[in-house]
Symmetry: C2
């Protein structure tokens, strides 16, 4: 950690109340990493503003002193977007945590960025409304972080990502200007800056207020569990359910290793021993749910499901989902370490990609647990490894890179909902052409001319990609992802 300039720190201290600036090593430790904990760096200082005015003044000061700044929500991100940067101020938005308004007629909530995702649905519940995107971390994660990463969740198959569920964002630029992106009314003129800032990983502006869309709670939601003795059959069923005209609220898939781990952990009532499990939720009005479930039942049977059950009551439905939501920590119980990937593929390519992942698992001698948003084609292979065994992390990263490149090769992408952060910078060189990366850099410069907002994240430099390309040619294959240089 390189220190911040003394005069900068002095001015910063005068801008903020006494509890608004942390510089003691023991206070800084909690901010060393986000949920991608393999990457750590202690920040030189952490600012904890309470108001827009304070944030505006902080950004202004950073610009004047040419000090980079990393904005952070509650640190649950999985790609290192909130990882501190050498010589940069860490700016946490945790204290902007008020729900400013719930408008049940317009079905919107206006909230500050530090509000927890689940808190919005809890506040909207008395009106029969809720906020749809539900990352597995929804108890803890902040809505500002959700916007910065364009987060997804189990129910994004039917209800879309964060970008589809927000209407307006207030943000502060590196110049300290407050800008409004999007509109609470239908559509907004000018370029679509709301979509642009969503998923921009703190690189364009600091988000200080969000107006989200609320949805009425469906009359009924029912989940169907189908077991298969072949993962390929389960993959085929996913495509066939969509082809039959059903849009499930959620459609999740787990493989044998995940089923076993989750069952041991939360006793969800899963069929242990099955090669694959599909959880398909249908919601809506009562008859629609009955009709939908009938179709899903017929499709999974036709695809060779060995066991099909619907949850008998709300308690069993909650249990079925609890198993899925606890799948990551459940894997954490059976392996010293695991590496969570986040690739996407066109739904129709699911069976062949699962086969390829199994081949890679064999080749590298590393077990893989597959838990994923099957309906979206959003894979979360978890590679099980032991960081204490020399070379195993490197092997894991190499194998992870190959999985992502397989995703690109079949027409998919390197991230569905976890963001690029520092984790997938190298794969961005594979995903995008130089012309496309140049557009990204020009956009960054348009918002943030001095390049002080979360620099070095999300979009690799052309130099980095060129070096990677050179190594490419030299070794005849892509090198494994390395720690980012910034």
């Amino acid at each position: 950690m390189s220190a911040l300039p003394a005069d900068f720190l002095e001015k910063l201290r005068r801008l903020l109340p006494q509890d608004g600036l942390l510089t003691a090593p023991e206070d800084l430790a909690p901010y060393e990493c986000d949920a991608l904990s393999a990457y750590r760096r202690r920040p030189p200082a952490v600012a904890l503003p309470r108001t827009e005015e304070e944030i505006s003044a902080i950004l202004n000061l950073c610009r004047m002193h040419n000090v980079p700044v990393v904005a952070r929500g509650h640190g649950t991100g999985l790609s290192g977007g909130a990882l501190p940067i050498e010589g940069a101020l860490l700016l946490t938005l945790a204290r902007l945590n008020r729900i400013l308004m719930i408008d049940p007629l317009a079905r919107t909530a206006r909230v500050q960025p530090g509000v927890r995702n689940l808190a919005i649905s809890q506040a909207a519940a008395p009106y029969g409304l809720y906020y749809a995107p539900d990352p597995s971390s929804q108890i803890a994660c902040s809505i500002g972080g959700n916007v910065a990463e364009n987060s997804g969740g189990l129910h994004c198959l039917k209800y879309g990502l964060t970008v589809h569920n927000i209407l307006e964002v207030r943000a502060i630029t590196i110049d300290g200007d407050i800008i409004t992106l999007g509109s609470r009314a239908f559509d907004a003129p000018g370029y679509d800056l709301l979509a642009l800032i969503t998923g921009s990983e703190g690189m364009l502006a600091v988000i200080v207020e969000i107006t989200v869309r609320l949805l009425p709670k469906p009359e009924r939601a029912q989940v169907l569990l189908a077991a298969f003795d072949s993962i390929a059959n389960a993959g085929v069923a996913v495509g066939q359910i969509i082809a039959a005209g059903i849009i499930p609220a959620a459609m999740e898939m787990m493989d044998k290793l995940s089923i076993q781990a989750a069952e041991d952990y939360v006793h969800a009532g899963y069929p242990v021993g099955a090669e694959a499990l599909l959880l398909v939720e249908v919601d809506g009005v009562n008859e629609e749910v009955s009709d939908g479930l009938r179709v899903v039942y017929e499709v999974v049977k036709a695809c060779g499901a060995t066991e099909v059950r619907t949850a008998l009551d709300e308690a069993e439905r909650t249990r079925f989902w609890a198993g899925r939501k606890a799948a990551f920590p459940a894997i954490g119980r059976i392996s010293p370490d695991y590496y969570c990937m986040d690739g996407t593929i066109p739904r129709g390519r699911l069976p062949e990609v699962l086969v390829r992942i199994a081949e890679l698992s064999e080749e590298y001698g590393l077990p893989v647990a597959n838990v994923f948003h099957a309906g979206d084609g959003n894979l979360h292979p978890l590679i099980l490894y032991d960081a204490n065994k020399p070379g195993e992390l490197e092997k894991t990263e190499e194998m992870g890179g190959k999985i992502l490149e397989t995703c690109i090769a079949v027409g998919g992408t390197i991230t569905g909902e976890h963001g690029v952060g520092v984790e997938k910078l190298n794969q961005m060189c594979v995903q995008f052409s130089s012309a496309e990366l140049e557009v990204f850099h020009a956009l960054k410069a348009a918002f943030d001319p001095p390049g002080l907002l979360n620099p070095g994240k999300a979009v690799p430099s052309l130099h980095r990609c060129a070096e990677l390309g050179a190594m490419h040619v030299h070794h005849g294959q892509l090198p494994h992802p390395e720690l980012p240089r910034f």
Copy 2:
């Protein structure tokens, strides 16, 4: 019309086949305007490329000779986005008109920009699929133009705007580079360039291919017609239907003047004499539609509807919609000229804004017909005037400006689905702050450093806004919109 440089034209001619370049005055006349026909300018030349390679070469040539270029689809736009610019080449994409692929499993269609909106649904019909956004001009308008303007339509209340129904766009930059925006898979890493180019009105890049999302045709669609003896009551009903948890496929409102004009024109079976008419379509599975209609029926009755009917059969349903879709030409039959506005407002403010429009109509002595997407809060007031009466166009534009400013004042926007083009440049100065406009300009420069793509459209210069502000203060009110200067 100022001529293009002779050496530029000569090189352009060599790039294209003989029928690929128009320069004779009689050939250029059809390209003088789009559907905002009050603004006209003859282009010096029109290029009609057939391939991406030709477009890439044309853009490269424009950049080398510093010649501006205006891209155009089928010219049905309502805000002058495709209006020729002094000394600029007009580039029409009409010949890129092939449907490249329909993938019924992935539910996507890959099409060229010159394909007509309705042609996509017709090609997808054999698979039970369709493309949802349906502008009233869908028989004629091009999908490339839909993307450039982020077009809406009757069914956008439930199914979203163009931006919500496309997955991937291929575009060519002013440097001639081909870039891919978005992804056919779930989500895409990096900034959301797909949303950014959607609605960018030809200012960022030239769109050469679009992958659209297709939806399964709903099992049943039924429309309910409700007549009211007060437009305010109809406005209240709109809010109450949404508040009751129904999301209609479409919810349209017409006032007395529109009802009468449409009925005289297409004999839709509307209750002539009613002050307001609501058309509410519910679609989905059979029971869902029955349940939804029951709720809508109860709400409109409680809000004082004087007559409520559902279409007896598909023929009557088609007739009900034919009246609405023909409302603009129907008004054209009863008034020498009309001016179509496109403001949006938060749904809850509908009743008061309708009252304000009626007051303005009285004050200016100009009749107004209200036809609009009520569910979205997207108003289309049509101001009836006679361009042959001296001063009446100016009076109309002034009144139109006041309607749009009323929209902004209640938290709405100056355009819902028609774009800014040249028509609403001045209102952009009211809608956005200088800091926000600066971001727009920086984005434009990031994509198009020499500023050659459709310059002067969509985003006003800060100078223009400053002048307008100065006039503002001087006269104590906003001047009427004037012809843009470029």
